[in-house]
Protein backbone atom coordinates (compact mmCIF):
# COMPACT_ATOMS: atom_id res chain seq x y z
CA UNK A 1 0.00 0.00 0.00
CA UNK A 2 2.73 2.44 0.97
CA UNK A 3 4.53 1.40 -2.20
CA UNK A 4 1.65 2.68 -4.27
CA UNK A 5 1.80 6.07 -2.62
CA UNK A 6 5.55 6.16 -3.28
CA UNK A 7 4.68 5.57 -6.94
CA UNK A 8 2.25 8.49 -6.90
CA UNK A 9 4.74 10.66 -5.05
CA UNK A 10 7.35 10.08 -7.76
CA UNK A 11 4.66 10.54 -10.39
CA UNK A 12 3.87 14.04 -9.10
CA UNK A 13 7.50 15.08 -9.60
CA UNK A 14 7.76 13.49 -13.04
CA UNK A 15 4.40 14.89 -14.12
CA UNK A 16 5.69 18.37 -13.32
CA UNK A 17 9.10 17.75 -14.89
CA UNK A 18 7.89 16.30 -18.21
CA UNK A 19 5.90 19.34 -19.37
CA UNK A 20 8.54 21.63 -17.91
CA UNK A 21 11.27 20.13 -20.12
CA UNK A 22 9.91 21.30 -23.52
CA UNK A 23 9.12 24.72 -22.07
CA UNK A 24 12.68 25.07 -20.81
CA UNK A 25 14.11 23.90 -24.14
CA UNK A 26 11.86 26.41 -25.86
CA UNK A 27 13.12 29.12 -23.51
CA UNK A 28 16.74 28.22 -24.32
CA UNK A 29 16.61 27.95 -28.12
CA UNK A 30 13.87 30.39 -29.07
CA UNK A 31 14.81 33.90 -30.27
CA UNK A 32 14.24 36.72 -27.84
CA UNK A 33 13.55 40.12 -29.35
CA UNK A 34 11.09 41.84 -27.05
CA UNK A 35 9.58 45.17 -27.89
CA UNK A 36 6.77 47.11 -26.21
CA UNK A 37 4.25 46.56 -28.99
CA UNK A 38 4.84 42.82 -29.12
CA UNK A 39 4.43 42.50 -25.39
CA UNK A 40 1.29 44.54 -25.34
CA UNK A 41 -1.96 42.85 -24.37
CA UNK A 42 -3.76 41.44 -27.38
CA UNK A 43 -7.03 43.14 -28.14
CA UNK A 44 -8.18 43.65 -31.74
CA UNK A 45 -5.36 46.00 -32.64
CA UNK A 46 -5.96 48.91 -30.31
CA UNK A 47 -4.71 49.48 -26.80
CA UNK A 48 -6.69 48.05 -23.91
CA UNK A 49 -8.75 50.57 -22.04
CA UNK A 50 -8.99 50.36 -18.28
CA UNK A 51 -8.08 47.69 -15.82
CA UNK A 52 -8.35 44.04 -16.84
CA UNK A 53 -8.95 42.64 -13.41
CA UNK A 54 -12.51 43.76 -13.09
CA UNK A 55 -15.26 42.65 -10.76
CA UNK A 56 -17.22 39.72 -12.07
CA UNK A 57 -20.87 38.86 -12.10
CA UNK A 58 -22.38 37.60 -8.85
CA UNK A 59 -23.97 34.76 -10.85
CA UNK A 60 -20.66 32.93 -10.97
CA UNK A 61 -20.44 33.11 -7.21
CA UNK A 62 -23.90 31.63 -6.74
CA UNK A 63 -23.10 28.78 -9.08
CA UNK A 64 -19.93 28.17 -7.12
CA UNK A 65 -21.97 27.98 -3.91
CA UNK A 66 -24.40 25.44 -5.36
CA UNK A 67 -21.47 23.47 -6.71
CA UNK A 68 -19.79 23.44 -3.32
CA UNK A 69 -22.88 22.00 -1.63
CA UNK A 70 -23.26 19.27 -4.21
CA UNK A 71 -19.59 18.39 -4.33
CA UNK A 72 -19.28 17.98 -0.60
CA UNK A 73 -22.45 15.90 -0.48
CA UNK A 74 -21.16 13.66 -3.27
CA UNK A 75 -17.94 13.08 -1.40
CA UNK A 76 -20.03 12.00 1.61
CA UNK A 77 -21.79 9.48 -0.60
CA UNK A 78 -18.60 7.70 -1.69
CA UNK A 79 -18.03 5.83 1.62
CA UNK A 80 -21.72 4.88 1.58
CA UNK A 81 -21.27 3.32 -1.87
CA UNK A 82 -18.11 1.48 -0.85
CA UNK A 83 -19.72 -0.04 2.24
CA UNK A 84 -22.83 -1.02 0.28
CA UNK A 85 -22.42 -4.74 0.96
CA UNK A 86 -22.37 -4.30 4.71
CA UNK A 87 -25.38 -1.97 4.80
CA UNK A 88 -28.85 -3.20 5.67
CA UNK A 89 -31.72 -2.07 3.47
CA UNK A 90 -32.53 0.46 6.18
CA UNK A 91 -29.12 2.12 5.82
CA UNK A 92 -29.54 2.24 2.05
CA UNK A 93 -32.88 3.97 2.47
CA UNK A 94 -31.19 6.44 4.83
CA UNK A 95 -28.69 7.18 2.08
CA UNK A 96 -31.55 7.74 -0.33
CA UNK A 97 -33.18 10.18 2.13
CA UNK A 98 -29.85 12.01 2.25
CA UNK A 99 -29.91 12.29 -1.55
CA UNK A 100 -33.53 13.49 -1.42
CA UNK A 101 -32.60 16.27 1.00
CA UNK A 102 -29.91 17.21 -1.49
CA UNK A 103 -32.49 17.19 -4.26
CA UNK A 104 -34.72 19.44 -2.14
CA UNK A 105 -31.86 21.93 -2.06
CA UNK A 106 -31.62 21.77 -5.84
CA UNK A 107 -35.38 22.33 -6.21
CA UNK A 108 -35.20 25.27 -3.79
CA UNK A 109 -32.39 26.84 -5.81
CA UNK A 110 -34.35 26.17 -8.98
CA UNK A 111 -37.53 27.80 -7.65
CA UNK A 112 -35.54 30.78 -6.42
CA UNK A 113 -34.33 31.30 -9.96
CA UNK A 114 -30.68 30.85 -9.04
CA UNK A 115 -30.16 28.47 -11.95
CA UNK A 116 -31.40 31.00 -14.50
CA UNK A 117 -28.48 32.49 -16.41
CA UNK A 118 -29.28 36.11 -17.06
Amino acid sequence: MLDNWLFIGIFVLIAAAFPAAPIIINYLIAPRKPNPIKQDTYECGIETVGDTWVQFKVQYYIYALVFLIFDVETVFLYPWAVAFDRLALFAVVEGVIFILILAAGLIYAWRQGVLEWT
Binding site: F7, F11, V12, A16, P19, N26, R32, Y78, V96
Partner: protein
Amino acid sequence: MTIWEDPIKFLNDWLAGILNAVVDFLNLPAGTTNFILNLIGVIIVATFGLLLVIFLTWLERKVAARFQDRFGPNRAGPYGIFQSFADMIKLITKEDITPTGADKISYNIAPLLSVASVILIWAVVPFTATWVGADINVGVLYIAAVGSFGILSVLMAGWSSNNKYALLGAFRAVAQLISYEVPLFLALLIPVLLARSMGINTIVEAQGTWFVVLAPLPFLIFLTSSIAEIGRTPFDLLEAESEIVAGFHIEYTGMKYGMFMAGEFLHAFTISVLTGILFFGGWQGPMVDTYPLLGVVYLMTKAFIVYFIVMWVRSTLPRVRIDHLMAFNWKFLVPLSLVMLIVTALLDKAFEAHSLHTWILLGANVVVALITVQILRVTGRRKEKELETFPKRPVAVPPKEEAPA
Protein backbone atom coordinates in the same frame (compact mmCIF):
# COMPACT_ATOMS: atom_id res chain seq x y z
CA MET B 1 6.63 -18.82 -14.60
CA THR B 2 7.61 -18.03 -18.17
CA ILE B 3 7.92 -14.61 -19.71
CA TRP B 4 4.67 -14.94 -21.67
CA GLU B 5 2.42 -15.56 -18.70
CA ASP B 6 3.15 -12.27 -17.07
CA PRO B 7 5.96 -10.37 -18.82
CA ILE B 8 5.64 -7.26 -16.66
CA LYS B 9 6.12 -9.13 -13.41
CA PHE B 10 8.88 -11.22 -15.04
CA LEU B 11 10.81 -8.11 -16.09
CA ASN B 12 10.12 -6.51 -12.73
CA ASP B 13 11.56 -9.47 -10.81
CA TRP B 14 14.51 -9.70 -13.17
CA LEU B 15 15.35 -6.00 -12.73
CA ALA B 16 14.81 -6.25 -8.98
CA GLY B 17 17.35 -9.12 -8.86
CA ILE B 18 20.01 -7.09 -10.66
CA LEU B 19 19.31 -3.93 -8.65
CA ASN B 20 19.40 -5.81 -5.36
CA ALA B 21 22.85 -7.12 -6.21
CA VAL B 22 24.07 -3.63 -7.09
CA VAL B 23 22.52 -2.11 -3.96
CA ASP B 24 24.14 -4.79 -1.80
CA PHE B 25 27.48 -4.22 -3.47
CA LEU B 26 27.39 -0.45 -2.94
CA ASN B 27 25.92 -0.67 0.59
CA LEU B 28 23.02 1.63 -0.25
CA PRO B 29 19.95 1.84 2.01
CA ALA B 30 17.47 -1.01 1.66
CA GLY B 31 14.65 0.93 0.00
CA THR B 32 16.75 1.97 -3.01
CA THR B 33 15.74 -0.96 -5.23
CA ASN B 34 12.09 -0.25 -4.61
CA PHE B 35 12.56 3.44 -5.34
CA ILE B 36 14.37 2.82 -8.62
CA LEU B 37 11.79 0.29 -9.77
CA ASN B 38 9.02 2.75 -9.01
CA LEU B 39 10.91 5.49 -10.83
CA ILE B 40 11.26 3.32 -13.94
CA GLY B 41 7.56 2.50 -13.82
CA VAL B 42 6.62 6.16 -13.51
CA ILE B 43 8.87 7.18 -16.40
CA ILE B 44 7.42 4.46 -18.64
CA VAL B 45 3.82 5.44 -17.92
CA ALA B 46 4.44 9.20 -18.19
CA THR B 47 6.45 8.84 -21.42
CA PHE B 48 3.71 6.67 -22.85
CA GLY B 49 1.21 9.41 -22.05
CA LEU B 50 3.21 12.19 -23.63
CA LEU B 51 4.18 10.20 -26.73
CA LEU B 52 0.52 9.42 -27.16
CA VAL B 53 -0.19 13.14 -27.53
CA ILE B 54 1.94 13.32 -30.68
CA PHE B 55 -0.09 10.54 -32.20
CA LEU B 56 -3.41 11.92 -30.95
CA THR B 57 -2.94 15.36 -32.53
CA TRP B 58 -2.33 13.70 -35.87
CA LEU B 59 -5.31 11.36 -35.43
CA GLU B 60 -7.61 14.17 -34.38
CA ARG B 61 -6.74 16.31 -37.40
CA LYS B 62 -7.01 13.39 -39.76
CA VAL B 63 -10.39 12.22 -38.44
CA ALA B 64 -11.81 15.75 -38.16
CA ALA B 65 -10.72 16.34 -41.76
CA ARG B 66 -12.47 13.22 -42.98
CA PHE B 67 -15.64 14.29 -41.18
CA GLN B 68 -15.48 17.60 -43.03
CA ASP B 69 -14.74 15.94 -46.38
CA ARG B 70 -11.11 17.05 -46.48
CA PHE B 71 -7.86 15.09 -46.56
CA GLY B 72 -6.20 16.54 -43.52
CA PRO B 73 -2.41 16.47 -43.15
CA ASN B 74 -1.01 14.35 -46.02
CA ARG B 75 2.33 15.92 -46.99
CA ALA B 76 4.79 15.15 -44.20
CA GLY B 77 5.49 11.45 -44.38
CA PRO B 78 3.01 8.67 -45.17
CA TYR B 79 -0.54 9.89 -44.40
CA GLY B 80 1.02 13.02 -42.94
CA ILE B 81 2.09 11.18 -39.84
CA PHE B 82 5.14 13.40 -39.29
CA GLN B 83 2.97 16.52 -39.24
CA SER B 84 2.86 16.51 -35.44
CA PHE B 85 6.65 16.37 -35.26
CA ALA B 86 6.86 19.35 -37.59
CA ASP B 87 4.37 21.22 -35.40
CA MET B 88 6.38 20.33 -32.33
CA ILE B 89 9.62 21.64 -33.85
CA LYS B 90 7.85 24.80 -34.87
CA LEU B 91 6.35 25.37 -31.43
CA ILE B 92 9.64 24.73 -29.70
CA THR B 93 11.48 27.35 -31.76
CA LYS B 94 8.85 30.06 -31.33
CA GLU B 95 9.54 33.11 -29.24
CA ASP B 96 8.13 33.01 -25.76
CA ILE B 97 6.19 36.22 -25.15
CA THR B 98 4.93 37.27 -21.74
CA PRO B 99 2.55 40.22 -21.89
CA THR B 100 3.39 43.22 -19.77
CA GLY B 101 1.44 43.30 -16.57
CA ALA B 102 1.00 39.54 -16.47
CA ASP B 103 1.29 37.77 -13.16
CA LYS B 104 4.53 35.95 -14.01
CA ILE B 105 4.39 33.11 -11.49
CA SER B 106 0.91 31.82 -12.16
CA TYR B 107 1.32 32.63 -15.87
CA ASN B 108 4.22 30.18 -16.03
CA ILE B 109 2.84 27.51 -13.72
CA ALA B 110 -0.54 27.22 -15.47
CA PRO B 111 0.63 25.22 -18.53
CA LEU B 112 2.55 22.82 -16.32
CA LEU B 113 -0.49 22.26 -14.15
CA SER B 114 -2.67 21.75 -17.19
CA VAL B 115 -0.60 18.77 -18.37
CA ALA B 116 0.30 17.49 -14.91
CA SER B 117 -3.33 17.30 -13.79
CA VAL B 118 -4.12 15.03 -16.73
CA ILE B 119 -1.02 12.89 -16.71
CA LEU B 120 -1.37 12.22 -12.99
CA ILE B 121 -4.61 10.33 -13.71
CA TRP B 122 -2.52 7.75 -15.58
CA ALA B 123 -0.93 6.74 -12.27
CA VAL B 124 -3.98 4.64 -11.36
CA VAL B 125 -4.89 3.27 -14.81
CA PRO B 126 -4.82 -0.56 -14.75
CA PHE B 127 -3.28 -1.68 -18.06
CA THR B 128 -3.52 -5.36 -17.19
CA ALA B 129 -4.66 -7.30 -14.12
CA THR B 130 -1.23 -7.01 -12.53
CA TRP B 131 0.27 -4.00 -14.27
CA VAL B 132 -1.26 -1.14 -12.35
CA GLY B 133 0.87 1.88 -11.56
CA ALA B 134 -0.59 2.45 -8.11
CA ASP B 135 -3.41 0.15 -7.07
CA ILE B 136 -4.71 2.42 -4.33
CA ASN B 137 -8.06 1.73 -2.66
CA VAL B 138 -9.30 5.30 -3.21
CA GLY B 139 -8.62 5.35 -6.95
CA VAL B 140 -11.85 7.03 -8.03
CA LEU B 141 -11.48 9.73 -5.41
CA TYR B 142 -7.89 10.25 -6.58
CA ILE B 143 -9.07 10.72 -10.17
CA ALA B 144 -11.69 13.23 -9.06
CA ALA B 145 -9.19 15.13 -6.93
CA VAL B 146 -6.42 15.26 -9.51
CA GLY B 147 -8.80 16.05 -12.36
CA SER B 148 -9.99 19.15 -10.52
CA PHE B 149 -6.52 20.70 -10.81
CA GLY B 150 -7.27 21.25 -14.50
CA ILE B 151 -9.85 23.89 -13.54
CA LEU B 152 -7.24 25.63 -11.43
CA SER B 153 -4.82 25.79 -14.36
CA VAL B 154 -7.50 27.35 -16.57
CA LEU B 155 -8.35 29.96 -13.97
CA MET B 156 -4.67 30.73 -13.35
CA ALA B 157 -3.98 31.12 -17.06
CA GLY B 158 -6.97 33.34 -17.64
CA TRP B 159 -6.50 35.51 -14.61
CA SER B 160 -2.75 36.03 -14.93
CA SER B 161 -2.68 36.88 -18.64
CA ASN B 162 -3.87 40.45 -18.04
CA ASN B 163 -6.16 40.16 -21.03
CA LYS B 164 -9.89 40.70 -21.14
CA TYR B 165 -10.60 37.83 -23.51
CA ALA B 166 -8.59 35.52 -21.31
CA LEU B 167 -10.44 36.67 -18.22
CA LEU B 168 -13.81 36.14 -19.86
CA GLY B 169 -12.67 32.70 -20.93
CA ALA B 170 -11.58 31.91 -17.39
CA PHE B 171 -14.91 33.05 -15.92
CA ARG B 172 -16.85 30.93 -18.34
CA ALA B 173 -14.48 28.02 -17.86
CA VAL B 174 -14.85 28.02 -14.10
CA ALA B 175 -18.64 28.30 -14.25
CA GLN B 176 -18.82 25.50 -16.81
CA LEU B 177 -16.22 23.16 -15.34
CA ILE B 178 -17.41 23.28 -11.75
CA SER B 179 -21.00 22.84 -12.86
CA TYR B 180 -20.28 19.77 -14.94
CA GLU B 181 -18.17 18.29 -12.20
CA VAL B 182 -21.34 17.59 -10.18
CA PRO B 183 -23.00 15.14 -12.62
CA LEU B 184 -19.55 13.75 -13.39
CA PHE B 185 -18.96 12.81 -9.76
CA LEU B 186 -22.49 11.51 -9.35
CA ALA B 187 -22.11 9.31 -12.43
CA LEU B 188 -18.70 8.20 -11.18
CA LEU B 189 -20.41 7.08 -8.00
CA ILE B 190 -22.47 4.42 -9.78
CA PRO B 191 -19.59 2.13 -10.88
CA VAL B 192 -18.25 2.54 -7.32
CA LEU B 193 -21.62 1.50 -5.97
CA LEU B 194 -21.93 -1.48 -8.30
CA ALA B 195 -18.39 -2.68 -7.59
CA ARG B 196 -18.50 -1.75 -3.88
CA SER B 197 -14.99 -0.38 -4.13
CA MET B 198 -13.15 2.77 -5.09
CA GLY B 199 -10.10 0.83 -6.26
CA ILE B 200 -9.87 1.08 -10.04
CA ASN B 201 -8.63 -2.45 -10.51
CA THR B 202 -11.38 -3.83 -8.26
CA ILE B 203 -13.95 -2.02 -10.38
CA VAL B 204 -12.54 -3.65 -13.51
CA GLU B 205 -12.50 -7.08 -11.88
CA ALA B 206 -16.13 -6.64 -10.76
CA GLN B 207 -17.26 -6.20 -14.37
CA GLY B 208 -18.29 -9.73 -15.25
CA THR B 209 -21.05 -7.97 -17.14
CA TRP B 210 -19.88 -4.56 -18.25
CA PHE B 211 -21.31 -1.71 -16.25
CA VAL B 212 -22.54 -0.11 -19.44
CA VAL B 213 -25.17 -2.86 -19.46
CA LEU B 214 -26.10 -2.29 -15.83
CA ALA B 215 -25.99 1.49 -16.08
CA PRO B 216 -26.31 2.85 -19.63
CA LEU B 217 -27.74 6.18 -18.52
CA PRO B 218 -24.94 6.96 -16.05
CA PHE B 219 -22.52 6.07 -18.84
CA LEU B 220 -24.09 8.72 -21.08
CA ILE B 221 -24.10 11.25 -18.24
CA PHE B 222 -20.45 10.47 -17.55
CA LEU B 223 -19.47 10.84 -21.21
CA THR B 224 -21.42 14.07 -21.68
CA SER B 225 -20.10 15.77 -18.59
CA SER B 226 -16.59 14.53 -19.38
CA ILE B 227 -16.76 16.15 -22.81
CA ALA B 228 -17.83 19.33 -21.03
CA GLU B 229 -14.92 18.92 -18.61
CA ILE B 230 -12.35 18.81 -21.42
CA GLY B 231 -14.01 21.84 -23.00
CA ARG B 232 -14.58 20.53 -26.49
CA THR B 233 -17.28 21.39 -28.95
CA PRO B 234 -20.27 21.47 -28.23
CA PHE B 235 -19.10 22.71 -24.82
CA ASP B 236 -16.09 24.79 -25.89
CA LEU B 237 -17.33 28.06 -24.44
CA LEU B 238 -14.09 28.54 -22.56
CA GLU B 239 -12.17 28.93 -25.80
CA ALA B 240 -14.92 29.86 -28.24
CA GLU B 241 -12.95 31.18 -31.22
CA SER B 242 -15.73 33.28 -32.70
CA GLU B 243 -16.59 35.00 -29.41
CA ILE B 244 -13.51 35.41 -27.25
CA VAL B 245 -10.79 34.51 -29.80
CA ALA B 246 -9.04 31.74 -27.87
CA GLY B 247 -10.21 32.22 -24.34
CA PHE B 248 -7.91 31.59 -21.45
CA HIS B 249 -4.76 30.70 -23.45
CA ILE B 250 -4.90 33.66 -25.81
CA GLU B 251 -1.64 35.24 -24.64
CA TYR B 252 0.39 32.06 -24.62
CA THR B 253 3.00 31.42 -27.29
CA GLY B 254 5.48 28.70 -28.16
CA MET B 255 5.66 25.61 -26.07
CA LYS B 256 3.50 27.00 -23.27
CA TYR B 257 0.63 27.13 -25.72
CA GLY B 258 1.69 23.69 -26.92
CA MET B 259 1.39 22.36 -23.40
CA PHE B 260 -2.21 23.57 -23.14
CA MET B 261 -2.96 21.80 -26.40
CA ALA B 262 -1.16 18.67 -25.25
CA GLY B 263 -3.11 18.78 -22.00
CA GLU B 264 -6.40 19.07 -23.86
CA PHE B 265 -5.70 16.20 -26.25
CA LEU B 266 -4.40 13.98 -23.51
CA HIS B 267 -7.38 14.84 -21.33
CA ALA B 268 -9.74 13.82 -24.11
CA PHE B 269 -7.98 10.50 -24.45
CA THR B 270 -7.75 10.03 -20.70
CA ILE B 271 -11.50 10.34 -20.24
CA SER B 272 -11.89 7.80 -23.04
CA VAL B 273 -9.62 5.44 -21.14
CA LEU B 274 -11.57 6.09 -17.93
CA THR B 275 -14.85 5.38 -19.73
CA GLY B 276 -13.31 2.15 -20.99
CA ILE B 277 -12.23 1.22 -17.48
CA LEU B 278 -15.35 2.21 -15.57
CA PHE B 279 -18.06 1.13 -18.00
CA PHE B 280 -16.55 -1.17 -20.65
CA GLY B 281 -14.64 -3.65 -18.55
CA GLY B 282 -11.13 -2.18 -18.85
CA TRP B 283 -8.62 -4.90 -19.64
CA GLN B 284 -11.26 -7.64 -19.65
CA GLY B 285 -11.76 -9.64 -22.81
CA PRO B 286 -11.38 -13.14 -24.21
CA MET B 287 -8.14 -15.05 -23.49
CA VAL B 288 -6.98 -12.40 -21.05
CA ASP B 289 -6.40 -14.93 -18.27
CA THR B 290 -3.75 -16.83 -20.22
CA TYR B 291 -2.05 -13.82 -21.81
CA PRO B 292 -2.39 -10.79 -19.49
CA LEU B 293 -0.66 -8.53 -22.01
CA LEU B 294 -3.75 -8.77 -24.23
CA GLY B 295 -5.42 -6.58 -21.59
CA VAL B 296 -3.48 -3.56 -22.86
CA VAL B 297 -4.74 -4.22 -26.37
CA TYR B 298 -8.34 -4.51 -25.17
CA LEU B 299 -8.15 -1.39 -23.02
CA MET B 300 -6.61 0.68 -25.83
CA THR B 301 -9.14 -0.62 -28.37
CA LYS B 302 -12.03 0.38 -26.13
CA ALA B 303 -10.41 3.73 -25.38
CA PHE B 304 -9.88 4.53 -29.05
CA ILE B 305 -13.47 3.63 -29.89
CA VAL B 306 -14.70 6.02 -27.19
CA TYR B 307 -12.20 8.64 -28.39
CA PHE B 308 -13.58 8.28 -31.88
CA ILE B 309 -17.07 8.97 -30.50
CA VAL B 310 -15.74 12.07 -28.75
CA MET B 311 -14.23 13.28 -32.03
CA TRP B 312 -17.47 12.45 -33.80
CA VAL B 313 -19.45 14.56 -31.35
CA ARG B 314 -16.93 17.33 -31.81
CA SER B 315 -17.27 17.45 -35.57
CA THR B 316 -21.05 17.08 -35.58
CA LEU B 317 -22.56 19.40 -33.00
CA PRO B 318 -22.47 23.21 -32.93
CA ARG B 319 -21.58 25.17 -29.82
CA VAL B 320 -24.31 25.66 -27.23
CA ARG B 321 -25.21 29.00 -25.70
CA ILE B 322 -24.07 29.65 -22.15
CA ASP B 323 -27.55 29.79 -20.58
CA HIS B 324 -28.46 26.57 -22.39
CA LEU B 325 -25.22 25.07 -21.16
CA MET B 326 -25.95 25.85 -17.54
CA ALA B 327 -29.61 24.87 -17.82
CA PHE B 328 -28.67 21.57 -19.46
CA ASN B 329 -26.39 20.79 -16.56
CA TRP B 330 -28.43 21.94 -13.57
CA LYS B 331 -31.93 21.22 -14.83
CA PHE B 332 -31.27 18.01 -16.72
CA LEU B 333 -28.01 16.22 -15.94
CA VAL B 334 -27.93 16.78 -12.17
CA PRO B 335 -31.55 15.74 -11.47
CA LEU B 336 -31.20 12.78 -13.82
CA SER B 337 -28.02 11.57 -12.17
CA LEU B 338 -29.60 11.93 -8.72
CA VAL B 339 -32.57 9.84 -9.89
CA MET B 340 -30.23 7.26 -11.40
CA LEU B 341 -28.28 7.09 -8.16
CA ILE B 342 -31.42 6.45 -6.11
CA VAL B 343 -32.81 3.90 -8.58
CA THR B 344 -29.54 2.00 -8.89
CA ALA B 345 -28.93 1.96 -5.14
CA LEU B 346 -32.41 0.72 -4.21
CA LEU B 347 -32.72 -1.88 -6.96
CA ASP B 348 -29.18 -3.14 -6.48
CA LYS B 349 -29.84 -3.67 -2.78
CA ALA B 350 -33.30 -5.16 -3.22
CA PHE B 351 -32.33 -7.66 -5.93
CA GLU B 352 -28.75 -8.26 -4.87
CA ALA B 353 -28.62 -12.04 -5.34
CA HIS B 354 -31.53 -12.24 -7.75
CA SER B 355 -30.92 -14.19 -10.97
CA LEU B 356 -32.38 -11.35 -13.06
CA HIS B 357 -30.25 -8.67 -11.36
CA THR B 358 -28.71 -7.48 -14.64
CA TRP B 359 -32.03 -7.34 -16.48
CA ILE B 360 -33.78 -5.49 -13.67
CA LEU B 361 -31.14 -2.75 -13.63
CA LEU B 362 -31.12 -2.50 -17.42
CA GLY B 363 -34.92 -2.34 -17.46
CA ALA B 364 -34.93 0.37 -14.81
CA ASN B 365 -32.54 2.42 -16.95
CA VAL B 366 -34.77 2.05 -19.97
CA VAL B 367 -37.85 3.05 -17.94
CA VAL B 368 -36.11 6.13 -16.52
CA ALA B 369 -34.92 7.07 -20.02
CA LEU B 370 -38.45 6.81 -21.41
CA ILE B 371 -39.94 8.86 -18.54
CA THR B 372 -37.22 11.50 -19.06
CA VAL B 373 -37.97 11.74 -22.76
CA GLN B 374 -41.68 12.10 -22.00
CA ILE B 375 -41.06 14.86 -19.44
CA LEU B 376 -38.82 16.66 -21.92
CA ARG B 377 -41.50 16.45 -24.61
CA VAL B 378 -44.21 17.80 -22.33
CA THR B 379 -42.11 20.71 -21.05
CA GLY B 380 -40.87 21.41 -24.56
CA ARG B 381 -44.46 21.69 -25.82
CA ARG B 382 -45.38 23.96 -22.94
CA LYS B 383 -42.42 26.20 -23.77
CA GLU B 384 -43.49 26.29 -27.39
CA LYS B 385 -47.01 27.37 -26.40
CA GLU B 386 -45.61 30.09 -24.17
CA LEU B 387 -43.57 31.35 -27.07
CA GLU B 388 -46.59 31.32 -29.39
CA THR B 389 -48.41 33.91 -27.27
CA PHE B 390 -45.64 36.37 -28.06
CA PRO B 391 -44.75 37.53 -31.56
CA LYS B 392 -42.38 35.00 -33.02
CA ARG B 393 -39.80 37.42 -34.31
CA PRO B 394 -38.91 40.79 -32.85
CA VAL B 395 -40.83 43.29 -34.96
CA ALA B 396 -39.04 46.44 -35.93
CA VAL B 397 -41.01 49.42 -34.67
CA PRO B 398 -40.57 52.56 -36.77
CA PRO B 399 -39.27 55.48 -34.72
CA LYS B 400 -41.91 57.98 -33.69
CA GLU B 401 -41.99 61.16 -35.64
CA GLU B 402 -40.72 63.89 -33.44
CA ALA B 403 -43.06 66.80 -33.06
CA PRO B 404 -41.64 69.87 -34.74
CA ALA B 405 -40.31 72.24 -32.17
